[in-house]
């Protein structure tokens, strides 16, 4: 059907740029590399060995690559501010699903690059990593990643739509990026946050997008915990979807009224 075409078209575009994408992914490993080096010098980290931390940081990058879309920049800058949205509204398919199938190829490619690099490192230096994983856990964790992507996509669409009301959406995007960096677990495992920060973090949807799938992959979760997280993810998808519909309807009204 028509959405499949959109997916394939963009997949081809993304493959053309595979060189640049590859460099971006390698660059994104730099930050975590520094973190790993930092932790090697820390005394007494409760509940985590340095091998588990190394695995954690690599996984954060890979899961992040699969999950965290940057569609808000396209929606906010190109579609809304530059008015390209009109073109989409006139077409006989849903803007939401168009953006969805547009986002997937980049995620897949970056995720695959990240995973390949990761497997390469694991095979070269197996002693640096520590895993506790079975095929069942692997599959379930992957499911969490997929739902995580849905959550992240919905969230980023909502943020992108904010451009209907803000002329300088770029500032908002930067702030959101930082919030995601902290609360999704890019900085360090959330379990190592001070308690008050942990409490705040788990109220937000971000740990469910990236942090929990990563923890699932490291094998630190029991099956019933994974089910709980899965259910929580679904709850968030529903909440985010409702927020999206609200914001979209309000925004579209404003958009047509102004007649950009």
């Amino acid at each position: 059907m028509k959405y499949y075409r959109i997916f394939v078209l963009h997949l081809q575009q993304v493959f053309e740029q595979k060189g640049q994408t590859f460099v971006w992914i390698l660059l994104s490993f730099m930050g975590p590399l520094l973190m790993i080096l930092f932790w090697r010098g820390a005394k007494a980290i409760p509940g985590w060995t340095i091998e588990q931390l190394t695995a954690y940081y690599f996984l954060i990058i890979i899961v992040g690559a699969f999950v965290m879309t940057h569609i808000e920049e396209r929606i906010g800058k190109i579609d809304i501010q530059e008015g390209q949205l009109t073109m989409y509204l006139l077409k006989p398919f849903s803007y939401f699903w168009f953006k969805f199938y547009y986002s997937v190829p980049n995620r897949i490619l970056q995720g695959i690059f990240g995973s390949t690099f990761f497997l390469f490192c694991v095979s070269l230096f197996p002693s640096l990593f520590s895993f506790n994983i079975t095929p069942a856990i692997f599959l379930f964790s992957f499911l969490l990643v997929v739902v995580g992507f849905f959550m992240a996509f919905l969230f980023k669409v909502i943020i992108g739509i904010m451009a209907f009301w803000m002329t300088e959406a770029k500032g908002l995007f930067e702030v959101i990026n930082i919030i995601v960096t902290i609360f999704a677990g890019y900085l360090m495992p959330i379990a190592l946050f001070p308690q008050w920060l942990q409490d705040i973090t788990f109220v937000t949807p971000f740990p469910y997008m990236i942090y929990y799938p990563v923890i699932a992959f490291t094998g630190k979760l029991q099956v019933n915990e994974m089910v709980q997280i899965f259910l929580m993810q679904l709850v968030w998808v529903v909440i985010l979807y409702f927020v999206y519909r609200l914001v979209w309807t309000a925004g579209i009204k404003k958009f047509s009224a102004v007649g950009q």
Binding site: F38, A42, A44, I45, G171, I182, P194
Partner: protein, 261 residues
């Protein structure tokens, strides 16, 4: 030499005028840079929450380190050079370097200093207050000598950081479409936030070694834990790096083929 000081004064005047013409931008810039400063502190706060010491640096000392990072790198370095380096990628790619080379002024000086992001000054001020407070928490007695040492070593550290950036950016002359070179340098900058022992494990990353000195040695001066070895090391490194960047740039200019290349 005096001529270049005068020229720089003119640059500052021009930048000031430009900043005042766009005051909303100024406010935006101040808020954003303060936000980044706050984030860097929160990050360190979270990272050291469960471990009392890292590479022999106590928590308070690491806070002083991040404070100095914000003064030197997040604040001063970005203020003096961020926009210039950003523009350098455009200048080389679009062949505008020709115009620069035709001017009766040293090209490296012009390209490095023509812009100044004054809003980062706010970050420097706040970082100074923050660092002073952290020094107080670390029970470090006030000392004019330490402050003087800090200022001198900070300048040397900035020279090293500048040289590292400029050497990498000089590669743009051969590869003008590598716009993410500047991006990657922002990431590599992060090495300066951490204690120098962080690279102990990876000695083959010796290229990054100068970066570990940039913030940590001035910070040590403030913490009054400076050794003679540290001082000599940073002086020698700064001199060598300055020489390298100068020579490399002059060498690269011979290969510059302008927009039609």
């Amino acid at each position: 030499m005096k001529r270049y000081f005068r020229i720089y004064r003119t640059f500052l005047g021009l930048n000031y005028a430009r900043t005042m013409a766009y005051r909303a931008d100024l406010l935006n810039g101040i808020l954003a840079s303060l936000f980044w400063a706050g984030f860097s502190v929160i990050a360190i706060y979270a990272l050291t929450a469960k471990s009392p010491s890292v590479f022999g640096w106590t928590r308070e000392e690491i806070f002083v380190l991040i404070g100095v990072f914000n003064i030197m790198v997040g604040g001063t370095f970005r203020m003096l050079f961020a926009k210039n380096f950003d523009q350098l990628t455009h200048i080389i790619e679009r062949g505008e370097l020709d115009g620069v080379l035709l001017k009766p002024i040293d090209s490296q000086f012009f390209v490095s200093f023509q812009y100044c992001s004054l809003y980062n000054g706010a970050r420097v001020i706040f970082a100074c207050i923050f660092t002073a407070f952290m020094l107080h928490l670390a029970n470090v007695p006030f000392s004019i000598l330490a402050l003087g040492e800090f200022l001198v070593l900070a300048i040397l550290g900035l020279i090293i950081l500048y040289a590292v950036w400029y050497i990498v950016l000089t590669l743009l002359i051969w590869f003008p479409d590598l716009y993410n070179l500047a991006e990657s340098l922002y990431t590599i900058d992060q090495i300066t936030r951490f204690p120098p022992q962080i690279l102990n494990e990876l000695r083959f990353l010796f290229l990054f070694f100068p970066l570990t000195l940039v913030v940590s040695i001035p910070a040590k001066a403030l913490l009054q834990k400076l050794t003679v070895f540290d001082t000599i090391l940073i002086i020698i490194t700064a001199v060598i790096m300055l020489f390298v960047t100068r020579t490399f740039w002059k060498f690269a200019l011979r290969f510059y083929t302008s927009a039609s290349g």
